[in-house]
Symmetry: C2
Subunit: 443 residues, 2 copies
Amino acid sequence: MNIVLLSGGSGKRLWPLSNDTRSKQFIKIFKTTDGVYESMVQRVYRQIRSVDDRADVTIATSKSQVSAIHNQLGADVGISVEPCRRDTFPAIALAAAYLNDVRGISEEEAVVICPVDPYVEQDYFEALRELGRHAGVSEANLVLMGIEPTYPSAKYGYIIPTSKDHISKVAVFKEKPTEEKAQEYIAKGALWNGGVFAFRLGYVLQRAHELIEFTGYRDLYDKYDSLTKISFDYAVVEHEQNIEVMRFAGMWKDIGTWNTLTEAMESDSIGKAILNDHCDNVHVVNELNVPVLCMGLKDVVVSASPEGILVSDKNQSSYIKPYVDAIDQQIMFAEKSWGSFQVIDIEENSMTIKVTLNAGHGMNYHSHEHRDEVWTVISGHGRTIVDGVERKVVVGDVIQMPAGVPHTIMADTKLQVIEVQIGPDISVHDKKKTVLPNTAQQK
Amino acid sequence: MNIVLLSGGSGKRLWPLSNDTRSKQFIKIFKTTDGVYESMVQRVYRQIRSVDDRADVTIATSKSQVSAIHNQLGADVGISVEPCRRDTFPAIALAAAYLNDVRGISEEEAVVICPVDPYVEQDYFEALRELGRHAGVSEANLVLMGIEPTYPSAKYGYIIPTSKDHISKVAVFKEKPTEEKAQEYIAKGALWNGGVFAFRLGYVLQRAHELIEFTGYRDLYDKYDSLTKISFDYAVVEHEQNIEVMRFAGMWKDIGTWNTLTEAMESDSIGKAILNDHCDNVHVVNELNVPVLCMGLKDVVVSASPEGILVSDKNQSSYIKPYVDAIDQQIMFAEKSWGSFQVIDIEENSMTIKVTLNAGHGMNYHSHEHRDEVWTVISGHGRTIVDGVERKVVVGDVIQMPAGVPHTIMADTKLQVIEVQIGPDISVHDKKKTVLPNTAQQK
């Protein structure tokens, strides 16, 4: 199976776990049978592999997510990097060109497109494999997966098929109807549109060439920022008469809000939490190192991270976005290509950060104009280059970098440092990349 | 007016703001007209001073609170230090001996005893002044203040007077009755016992000498740990026939739980907090540097500090103690005689702390057997002594102290350092005080 997972943008609706730099699909919130936690993207990737261990998985995403994807899924996963966000049609066109030109997948082969974050079981991916197989042999140009509705939701789009057969032609699409209308559609056999579909690669490449002038993957990549933002639905699906839908009756959840996310949690809390007996339908996700004590609450979700603390009625939690948009907050935590950082203290003229470097990774060689920095190594070992001079560093070593002096640190093992930044108006923008001198080698 | 404020022990009922090292009376939670926040002890002290600027105020408390009291009230306040906790009779006897022997107050003068944490207005302290004046001239040995009940509470003790006059003899005391009984008592003119009373100093000294063999303040102080734990009520009040009570009809609140504390808050939040329109009777006290977002909550208190996060139904919050007792948590924040510290990061073999020294203060000269330490000065200036060598330190300076090497830091201005501790099994017990060499001088 060739499968492209669409990995969307920053999700503020799961704040404080998600933020501008950490999208919801990377939050480790699902407990596996081994007792470790995995993220949505890890869960989906594991499920695909267990259904089809030879599946060719490509993740279509923005540049900003590449590090997180490699950190969570390893170096082998295929990534179609969108230079900027241009909605789903350009993203799928780019992924199609990538599969054809870079991965060498033929135009006759079927490709399945699926969001990266459905909360489902194995049967879902078995259905996707069937979807792909069918798309490879069907007369139809597009084969959608339709999910059997469990209630008349007004939140989803509906696919109305011409029959209630397992696979049938699509009669019409209906966007988010009222609950009454939804009830009507469901009586006629309507299905939820989960944004999952399959096609032969050549079909989408053809559509892409009709709508965008490009020679191949590299060309499309280079002109990507000039493309119009348009969804795959508007650009392709609405103009296509020859569409089929395949029914899927298994478990499917769209985990976009705290309410739906907590429904998928195995236990009532993740992290340090105490819930007294008078709590009813309360969930806690706590990423901090101190306890959360909940007493006498009902239908409440509590989440704490270095970014902030949410305490919300579960139904209210779906209205979170404008409140989070209004928070003007220093980013307190981020995953980077080389590891991660967490802000642990902010004062008027200083900031203290815990930096974790993954083994074999290093920062860019860089300097700051307005601030001094001090590293104290608290775990692991590696090497620093400061002003062109390389030295080995181990736990307990202290490295001082006055303003203007270029520096980097490279981890031989996983390595952690406490970085104290000192100066006026500390800002992420005060950073100048520098070329490493020949005598020193950056890994 | 001579007034002794009894400052009680560590209160876990206002966790996470109060903990083993920070009692509730020191939490800065009340907004003054100047817009600054003051603690219960600061509020009471300010109110006493504004009613009687020559009042002789003594705080009876344990050793562990002395630094916090001096930090919050200045160096001038009188403190009767209890070497250990022995309940209210020994504490009042010690304070009486202190007033007589150390402060030179004559046995004829009246002394008012009052808890340090009532939430009241100025009229309360005007009543205390009247109480003291009356005790100085009355035939009675003890004059209590009785608070006019506002509802038939089952939480308080009741004083039943012989009449409804402003001052009358006490007929009988009733401990925490049922609400029905309380209703009955109130109909007869009963008053709440807020633990406030006045007497001529000689009276209590005489009672003390009858029950404890001691020569004077110093002797009583030295044998304090051998005294029996007994309350002033059991030891004195119950055996005294000649008691009067003075009625007080003003505002009085006992701020012992989150529920009553939030009633006394001027606004719905202290610290970074966002409450959406669907919140009703929600209060937030947030000491962290990140926002708390509350959505759709009712009758809930949220409090966040470096110790943890409480989210509680307001009524449930009075049952907090056993849950907090069960939390086995590293102390994350403490006020000390020299300033304060806050733990900002904990890893397996390291701990990072922000240390704030008040101007003119220094640590003890000490060393650690098992851990190295690194200081980075982030604000202010002062001096360090490391292995006997003194040097001046300013912002940006880094001081390294390997295990075994004695060290101290003294603040010339308010001074902050980030302290990184590195070693196995980091513990507060790994600390050895050392005598300073003659060549170096500790301020």
